[in-house]
């Protein structure tokens, strides 16, 4: 398949003349063709693909061999959705059964991942038993695994054998002094080891594992947790080094630390980074391919990113399902073909439009505007404001629309009734949208409209069903034409 929209070798702000600059898939555009081909239908790795394809995680690997200060293995709550938290631990057989059921029911599914809670490679028997069965019974599903890296070098051969072409390593530091502030201990060669010595071993193993995987052609993504005051500055160095060693994607995730999680950071009042700190750091790691659409999904998440259909596939429910996997596989192949065809069409249309947009030129130096978009997928503005559980945030500027990240409206709790705070869902949403000037959605009620306006956020329902970037740029253009992008009067203007 030919990819029509290719960005410049290093997309950078301002210096880009191509129409595709700033489009959501420029994240992938400067990857070599063979890697792009491998990730194009992977929802977690390709920002564009995640609008179309689904993934699932199975939790089969609860044991861990290190301790991170942002993790508490005790925690498991149905209201919770944060990484490492999971409700249903499965045996390998159950995991295989569930995967086959989900893949038959949700034909957009392309990827099965084993992440946590725990470290999959600290549970090699359960992890590899699952992979072995799946590579046999569901050969069309891509398998991937996330690891803290401590025992990674020992498992590289086995990973390659099971045809696992994506591995995620969490690398929060390359300096043991920094590491000692993140990892209180590791279990290594039959002993618990603490402090700088422990961090040194972990870091060495992670780097060795990364190198071994890259040498064998396995795609490696690196996850880093951004911990303000601990590794924020240091992550630029991490990004540089992992890129140099051949990782293809870097995902910097914000620390989540609340007192009630009972983690070291939560209890000790370590703060989480703000969205702008996260964006600034992602921009500062500019040389590396950064991932910006990560949803930090639950370890047993099922479905498209941002949705979770896990409840449809509880053990009792899958037990009752009859699955003809061969038939399901055929159907999946057809549906994936249709998805690819529509993506091609959309891409072609977008690049044509983008080209005209640039040609008709907005003046350089216009201030940029953040806009929030309610979308349930497929890359279009297609969600009712009141139904959105998360918003995609774009930055509009004369060079185009740039995806910044997503904001969840109900990240940790089911709503104000269970949380016990007085804030209404709408107030919470407005707070979450702080910094955005516009919110694009398919429809919005009159009451929230008023509240949003009062908060200085302009709702816009005029671009329903349009591709997101086009809609964002259309609104931006309109803002320009109606004088809303003029700098405030008190600012000195040179032109």
């Amino acid at each position: 398949m030919e990819l029509k929209v290719l960005g410049p070798a290093t997309p950078s702000e301002g210096g880009c003349s191509k129409g595709s600059c700033g489009s959501t898939d420029d994240q992938m555009a400067h990857l070599p063709e063979h890697i792009r081909e491998r990730v194009k239908n992977h929802p977690c790795y390709s920002e564009e693909a995640h609008h179309h394809y689904a993934r699932m995680h199975v939790a089969v690997a609860p044991a861990c061999n290190i301790q991170c200060n942002y993790c508490n293995r005790k925690y498991d709550c149905a209201n919770e959705s944060r990484p490492g938290v999971v409700s249903e631990l499965l045996t390998p057989d159950q995991a295989v059964k569930k995967t086959l059921a989900v893949a038959a029911t949700i034909p957009q599914m392309t990827v099965l991942g084993i992440a946590g809670p725990g470290d999959p490679l600290a549970n090699p028997a359960r992890t590899f038993d699952t992979f072995r069965q799946l590579s046999d019974k569901a050969p069309d599903i891509k398998l991937c695994v996330s690891t803290n890296g401590l025992t990674l070098p020992d498992h590289v051969e086995e990973l390659v054998k099971h045809n696992i072409d994506h591995v995620t390593i969490t690398i929060n530091c390359v300096d043991p002094e920094v590491g000692a502030k993140i990892y209180p201990w590791i279990f290594w060669k039959n002993r618990r080891i603490r402090g700088v010595k422990a961090a040194k071993i972990l870091i060495a193993q992670q780097q060795k594992g990364l190198q071994m995987l890259v040498e064998r052609g396995v795609l490696v993504k690196v996850n880093s947790v951004l911990i303000p005051g601990v590794n924020d500055e240091h992550l630029k160095e991490v990004s540089r080094i992992v890129k140099e060693k051949g990782a293809f994607l870097h995902n910097v995730m914000p620390l989540i630390a609340e007192e009630e999680h009972g983690t070291y950071y939560g209890v000790m009042g370590q703060r989480s980074p703000s969205q702008s700190e996260l964006t600034a750091l992602q921009d500062a790691c500019g040389d590396m391919n950064m991932m910006r659409h990560c949803r930090q999904c639950r370890a047993d998440a099922v479905g498209l990113l941002g949705e979770d259909r896990g409840q449809e596939f509880t053990l009792d429910k899958i037990d009752a399902m009859e699955i003809d996997y061969d038939a399901a596989m055929k159907k999946r192949a057809e549906i994936h073909q249709a998805i690819e065809a529509s993506r091609d069409a959309q891409r072609a249309a977008q690049s044509a439009k983008a080209a005209t947009a640039t040609a008709s030129g907005l003046p350089k130096g216009l201030r940029s505007v953040y806009m929030a978009v309610a979308s349930s997928g497929q890359g279009v503005v297609n969600q009712h404001f009141g139904h959105a559980k998360e918003f995609l945030v774009y930055e509009a500027s004369p060079t185009g629309a740039r995806f910044i990240g997503h904001r969840k409206t109900d990240q940790y709790c089911a709503g104000d009734t269970t949380c016990g705070d007085a804030e209404t869902a709408l107030q919470r949403t407005i707070r979450v949208l702080d910094g955005c000037e516009v919110v694009l959605c398919s429809r919005i009620g009159i009451e929230p409209w008023g509240h949003l306006e009062d908060a200085g956020i302009l709702p816009n329902g005029e671009h329903a069903m349009e591709p997101i970037e086009e809609a964002v740029m259309a609104v931006y253009r309109e803002m320009f034409e109606t004088g809303q992008l003029a700098p405030p009067a008190f600012e000195n203007r040179s032109a």
Partner: protein, 91 residues
């Protein structure tokens, strides 16, 4: 006396996987150590393996019935802070 697992255990499998004597078994509500099989890891390792990998403070008792990983020893959270949070029902 053998090593013993308490109700603080979160059933994470870590100890079971590293026990050289096959003394640990999955059980509800929490994992258990078979006293007859537990060797304290003597002859195999310098440190008892279950206690060296368990992530939960107070989950494993040693041969003297003391916590192998006392409160605060694994996370570094000050004990007073832990007790205050537990008393307030926060964790």
């Amino acid at each position: 006396m053998a090593y013993e697992i308490t109700a603080a255990c979160v059933n994470c499998f870590a100890c079971m996987d590293v026990c050289p004597s096959g003394a640990i078994r999955e059980a509800k509500p929490h994992f258990l150590i078979d006293a007859a099989k537990c060797t304290h890891c003597e002859g195999d390792f310098a440190d008892p393996q279950c206690a060296s990998i368990c992530p939960v403070e107070m989950a494993i008792l040693n041969e003297f019935g003391e916590a192998a990983n006392p409160l605060g020893s694994l996370t570094g959270i000050p004990v007073a802070r832990l007790q205050a949070l537990a008393a307030a029902g926060i964790i």
